[in-house]
Amino acid sequence: MNFQLTEEQQLIEQSARDFAKEFLDPIAVQLDYTGEFPKAVIAELANHDFLGLHLPAEAGGAGAGFVSYVAVIESLSRSSAAVTSIINNQAMASYAIQTWGSDAQKKQYVRAFIKGETIGAFAVCENGPTTGIGPDALNATKTEDGYVLKGTKAYVRNAGEAGVYVVFAVTDAADPNALTAFVVDASAAGLKVGPRLNTMGLKGCPVAHVVFDDVKVPETAVLGSLKAGREIATRVLALASVAEAAQTVGIGQAAVEHAAAYAKQRVQFGKPIATLQAIQTLLAEAATDCYLARLALRAAAQLVEDGKPFEAEAAIVKSFLARLGSKILVDSCQVEGGMGFSESMPLPRLFRDIAGTTLLDSPADFPDYAIAASIA
């Protein structure tokens, strides 16, 4: 078993690091401050073929595979996890359309995603206890020539910037567990993006509720088959949790390295604090958590790439980081003491960002249940 990236994967990873240095490092602080959608960066990502990395060559993508994809996400996240949140959410939409879409849907959307001309959004979450249940649940009512969508999708990433939304709706009120996926243009009449929500971190990746007020869509807007939405959502969310873990590891690694560099130059009691065992322990544990998470997420990514079942492994990575992801930043900030709490330094931004990549699972889908179910 090989835990190392192949030569090609290493080259791709290196290109992501170079990209991050050139295009993300200069804007990351400002992006966090203003929260303005980074249009110019998205265009550069497309120019450098990062938006189609995970898509097959025949679709216009780079066909690089999922291991490369997560290596790129980790590398870019060291500089700006807000940008990788945009990429990941767009990738969920493009993956779903490429995998389950009709030829017409693929033709219409996938190349535009890869070129960065259209931003995609993937919207499952609702305000009720679970998708499909609750007063605001998105319902699709059949009409003569299509469907009418009514309801609200909650906490939609890329909201307002997306040109197209992949959404999940109940088509059969008697069977609210059976969801159907739809591809909806942002320009559709009745689709309203709510006010932007104030996220603690990942600022620059917009989040808002999206209201569907009798939005008419044609029959051809259905993604895959009727009532196949639950299966699509489950698979894409599992993939996304691996990609999200890559964000966490990137953020965590950046934090540990910053804290270690700080500890080497910060002198207290007549010597650098890096010489104190209490500091070494904090750094060592954080580095250990990053390392183990990286191995676990790469193992899951390899299963994805090989076309094998990966859901349990994805849940394990997710559960591990839900417990320890934030701790990496809590402890890295601790190494820097008062400076680790000052927004003039990088760690507070990373602290706010990592909470967004590790803590957002709803109690409705704790990864623990999937793991427990997988233990035969």
């Binding site: 603690m200 701790k327 602290f351």
Partner: protein, 385 residues
Amino acid sequence: MSLLTAEQQEIKKTTREFVAKNIIPNAAEYDKKGEFHAFLLDAARESKIFAMAVPKEYGGLEYSALTQGLVLEEWGYGCAGMGTTLAASILGMDPLLVAGNEEQRQRYFDPIVKGGIAAFGLTEPAAGSDAAGGKTTAVRSGDEYVLNGSKCFITNGGYASVYIILAKTDPTKGVKGISAFIVERGRPGFTVGTVDHKLGIRSSNTVELLLKDVHIPASNLLGKEGEGMKIAMMTLDIARPAIAALAVGIAQRALDECVKYLQKRFPDKLQPGQTLQFKLADMQIQVEAARDTLHHTLQLRDSGAPFSEESAISKALCGDVAMAITTQAVSLMGSYGYTSEIAKLMRDAKIMQIYEGTNQIQRLVISRAVLAPAPAAGAAQKAGK
């Protein structure tokens, strides 16, 4: 059942009402703006709560340590940024309780009783955990001292009327060459430098203080020359439980908000739902254990027994619990937590592990006590244990 006295319960209730009226409704807005909550000083003036540690003979409330802890927990529950202003003002007054003479107490408790606040200036860029590493100097000149240097991360620094400043009076003597001084606001050469923007407690005022040829009367020296670090350490022993109390408040708030949210949004996952039930139980175990430990520390102090080790234990435990509970709360509240005021609790909690001695410094204090040679038989029983 509460073991608090009727008076303590009444104070807790009154404080809770004050917090509900003045603090909770304003916390999010001031956090967002990162602006000092000056209005709160006006709102609190009549109650003299900023003088709760000041003895009655000087016009203060003279609350017991435990009662102060109850008040601070409620303030932390409402907003740790605002609670920090109160805790740091008391910290700025504690040195007068530790080492102030009658004249100093008469003079400097007065502005606090009248509604002003105090600040404690120990930390410097080169002196964080190594608190004795400061470079600020105080040189005796006739019946004055002349102070030069700078302080950083000073809470209330931009708004205090009275400051305690630690400075070297004899650079050859190391820790024993440091002295503590009272410096009044407005002294020529005493100015506020940069204001810090922080991850949390954003409405509290954290600034750099600059001292350039600041002349103060020799009568502003606290205790004797060279006693500064001793006074500072005794002050921090008293002050650390105040931070612990804020931390317990944060943790309790996070738990309460979490329960409220889960009951509303996921009633079917709570009943039956052992995953959530047990997570909530674990949070409650931590909050309760933290509060009980803190109350024990405060009662030791009120009884006159030594409490230095317990003070460090309380600060480390309560700070770590606040961080863990708020993280867990955001996690249980998912995207709602991340986009609501709950996230503020998590940002606020982080400082509880850092200021007034990082939790690593607390562990140094605790480990020294653990590793100290066993006391002679008969002396081992600590008061209250």
